[in-house]
Amino acid sequence: MVTPKTMGQNQRLLIIPPFLWLGVMFLLPTLLVLAIALSSTRVGMPPYEPLFTWDGAMLSIKLNFENLQFVFRDGLYAHAYLNSLKVAAIATLLTLLIAYPLAYGISCCKHPWRSLLVFLVIVPFWSSLLIRVYAWMAILSNDGLLNSLLLASGLIDRPLQILNTQTAVYIGIVYSYLPFMVLPLYSNLADRDQSLLEAARDLGCSRLSSFWRITFPLSLSGIVAGCALVFIPVVGEFVVPDLLGGADTQMIGRTIWVEFFNNRDWPVAASVTVLLVLLLVIPITLLQSRLSKMRV
């Protein structure tokens, strides 16, 4: 006979492999980014100076705040940060506006339909982001399908420049991140208490006003979770702004990419990354607290 206590003791050991793995592969690298952000650039491989040097007798630590200062002072990075935040905020709002009616609609359906519709929302999430963004390139380009249709219908006489603009980036982000918004909203709306709505109707409340006074306020936690799930990755998004955006849509994920692969300035790229993570600390904490309340 095994007592619950010894069971727990044995099961507790199970945490070791995943914990170690995440420690080495996630926590350690995150700390390392901070360290490299504080080192100086040099020519060679790795292209940065070591932070700690040991000359046999003395450990010297050389911290260099110039990269972080540089990133702060340089207008280009500030612009990319602000633009990322702006694009992420607007795109999150647009996603919410499209996802809410869908999630609400699904939650009003009868049972076999519900699972099927939720399944259909998830399917695109399983297919490659790259392919989904690529599909929009073919639609939005100057000689693309949308422009061909508009030209043929006589609505416009010159192709509209949509690809390589901020508009295309919004379309791409809303399209790619829709499932992340729909799912938390749906799971919240599907659990709503019908008796509250019935009571409101019995007391003479119209359908619309019972939605605004009961359903919507009660779905706020789903809205917060969905918005955080979209906003956080979008701030650092690379693929969508790179393929659909233009020169004017500088976003921070793309800046990091360019610093790494084109300029090969690792300490600056690490500094940009550190500041990106710092930006995301508040939304991530918000999400964590929501999720820990939602799950069991």
Partner: protein, 267 residues
């Protein structure tokens, strides 16, 4: 919970419009992969020539080979690590560091891919590990194990603990009780966790680009370098084939879980 009334016309309309928005671009992409014309917007008749071109493109085939090996190995690691993580989260309600562990498990899912890529690259360089398919695999296993853990967690939470308790009361050691009673019950969830990890790895561009070394390119990396120059019917054909593989995997996952409930609740 059963609903007192069905969907209104507004509900139906919003479902229809958003589904159209979700599926029309993919549909167009697939249709134009069968286009005879090289132009991606003008229909020139039905042809499968671009599939032939894609399948004889050595660079793409090589990328596909790398991608499949990386995805299969990393998905296996991810599932093997996700299972104990999910078990601990579901079965041990309170332990010191639970919040920390939960945070560690959730962070890689929401962290922008660029951040994960940069930090893992810097670690591989600092440790002097040669970058290539191995480092991509390790990096993919790290972020996909978190998704695998979520899928497994939702299934384990539904599992009736009294079954295992009964086995233990009858003298079965805990490990055997788990293997003989719980494991067969979560096999479908293990399959979906593996498939989800596999697809996520197969699709990844950013983390692969950062963690790879010279010479090793995955399929998305090859596709990315081609579409930077514009839309080609050959890439449409490749994309359609990838979508086909994913669709087959999804059908298999849906079939093995009979309904997609487990995978759904994962997110």
């Amino acid at each position: 919970m059963s609903q007192s009334r069905g969907p209104s016309w507004f509900n139906r309309l919003s479902i229809f419009v958003v589904m159209l928005f979700l599926y029309l671009p993919i549909f167009i992409l697939v249709v134009f992969s069968f286009n005879k014309s090289k132009l991606v917007t003008v229909w020139g008749g039905f042809s499968t020539q671009w599939y032939g071109a894609a399948l004889s493109n050595a660079a793409l085939l090589d990328g596909a080979r790398v991608s499949f090996v990386v995805a299969a190995v990393s998905a296996t690691i991810a599932t093997a690590l996700g299972l104990p993580a999910a078990l601990v989260m579901v079965r041990i309600r309170r332990f010191r560091g639970r919040q920390v562990f939960m945070g560690l498990l959730a962070a890689p899912m929401v962290m922008p891919e660029v951040v994960l890529g940069v930090s893992m690259l810097l670690m591989f360089v600092a440790l002097g590990v040669d970058r290539g398919p191995l480092t991509i695999t390790l990096a993919h296993a790290t972020f996909t194990m978190c998704f695998a853990a979520v899928v497994l967690q939702s299934r384990l939470a539904e599992l009736d603990p009294s079954l295992e308790e009964a086995a233990r009361d009858l003298g079965c050691p805990p490990a055997t009780a788990f293997l003989k009673v719980a494991l067969p019950n979560i096999l479908p969830a293990l399959a979906s966790a593996w498939l989800l990890s596999f697809t996520l790895s197969l699709d990844d561009l950013v983390i692969s680009s950062f963690t790879t070394g010279p010479g090793a390119s995955t399929l998305p990396m090859k596709i990315y370098s081609q579409i930077k120059f514009g839309v080609t019917p050959e890439i449409n054909a490749v994309s359609t084939m990838i979508l086909g593989v994913v669709a087959l995997g999804l059908l298999a996952a849906a079939w093995s879980t009979r309904g997609s409930e487990a995978a759904l609740r994962g997110h």
